[in-house]
């Protein structure tokens, strides 16, 4: 924690910044844009996200029902969770142990990616103002460190895509795009938080990119957020119930 705080202080430069009167507030147009992206557009993004996720999940289940009903007969809660549990614990599977660096990065990345936006104080304040719901928050300094982890991980994934032959071979433009979609809210959020330059632009871009990510989740391969527990559970059930073998 101490380290996060020191890093935070250093980055914010609040102790050595020259302080003078704030210039009269300008940029009404920026504020209008801000009100639009943080108001109606946020509603649109959240609705598309939730409805989209629900739609995708229901559609896949309907498809199972229509054409591959037998899948249900093999599903087992016990073996589903046995499999999922192994794969959500770092180093609990053979393949995680084979790739220690990637494992650390991917776990840190996914944890920070999900925790950061949900427990960031500024987000909670905005939700509280809009919907009067609030929950506990993480200290800003910690959240900023987690943001850096997400950005760093994205860079790691990018480099891995570029230089690792087995990844590079199956990489398409869409892979870079979804990586950028995920990285953008964190980069802009980081810039916005520290206010080095272009504060208003970064804030608006931050909200906009966050909304793009939300909308993209159900309709791109970011939907692995929705489907991976299902595919894992099915494979876990097949391995547990039929194959009597480990799948981790």
């Amino acid at each position: 924690m101490i380290h996060f705080k020191r890093l935070n202080d250093l980055l914010s430069r609040k102790y050595w910044a020259p302080v003078s009167a704030v210039k009269e507030h300008k940029g009404e147009a920026m504020n209008t844009l801000y009100n639009f992206v943080s108001g109606p557009l946020a509603w649109v993004a959240f609705i598309i996200f939730f409805v989209g996720c629900l739609y995708r999940l229901i559609r896949i289940l309907v498809l199972v029902h229509k054409k591959e009903k037998y899948i249900y007969t093999y599903m087992s809660w016990k073996y589903s969770f046995r499999s999922i549990l192994h794969w959500v614990i770092p180093f609990a599977t053979v393949n995680w142990r084979k790739h220690p660096v990637l494992t650390i990065v991917t776990f840190a990345f996914h944890i920070c990616l999900i925790i950061t936006p949900i427990f960031l104080l500024s987000h909670i304040i905005l939700w509280d103002e809009s919907w009067s719901v609030s929950w506990w928050s993480l200290p800003d300094s910690l959240v900023q460190a987690m943001t850096l982890i997400v950005i760093g991980s994205c860079i790691f994934f990018l480099i891995r895509r570029l230089i690792s032959p087995e990844v590079q071979y199956v990489t398409f433009a869409s892979d870079y795009i979804i990586l950028a979609i995920v990285a953008a809210p964190f980069v802009t959020g980081f810039m916005s938080y520290y206010q080095w330059f272009g504060y208003q632009v970064f804030t608006i871009l931050h909200i906009l990119s966050g909304e793009i990510m939300l909308i993209a989740i159900p309709f791109t391969r970011l939907s692995h957020m929705l489907f991976s527990p299902l595919t894992r559970a099915y494979m876990g059930s097949e391995f547990g119930g039929v194959r009597h073998a480990r799948d981790w």
Partner: protein, 133 residues
């Protein structure tokens, strides 16, 4: 450690210079944030007179409001003789919002309503108030 020393020295000198410079500015005002334990953002930049002049606010109770027990706003009374934190506690009680939310509603709420004044977090919680935002 030896390598760090010159850098640290340089940093120290520079910061001292800026600190002195900072404290020499007298027209700067911040919202009193002492009531917040462990604040996460820099205190809000706020120049009382300049704000009211720009916003053409005549009545103190436009901002320094009083609410009665039923939660109705009392006209003609104002609370400029008190601190906001005298009424608004760190946590909300009943319909009375918590201190932070009260600030946000009071300032940002009005700014949004009038379509004037800052609305983004960092426009008020300015890290380096000399920089044009």
């Amino acid at each position: 450690m030896k390598k760090c020393f010159p850098i640290l020295l340089l940093l120290l000198t520079v910061s001292l210079f800026f600190l002195v410079y900072a404290y020499s500015q007298e027209d700067m005002r911040f919202i009193n944030a002492e009531a917040f334990e462990n604040p996460q953002r820099p205190p809000t930049v706020f120049n009382h007179d300049e704000h009211n002049e720009l916003a053409q606010i005549e009545e103190c109770n436009e901002c320094h409001h009083i609410y009665d027990k039923e939660g109705k706003r009392v006209e003609d009374e104002s609370s400029e003789d008190q601190s906001c934190s005298d009424c608004h506690e760190p946590k909300a009680s009943g319909r009375k919002p918590a201190l932070m939310k009260a600030f946000h509603i009071n300032c940002k709420g009005c700014h949004k309503e009038k379509g004037k004044g800052p609305v983004m977090c960092g426009q008020c919680h300015v890290r380096r108030p000399n920089v044009e935002d």
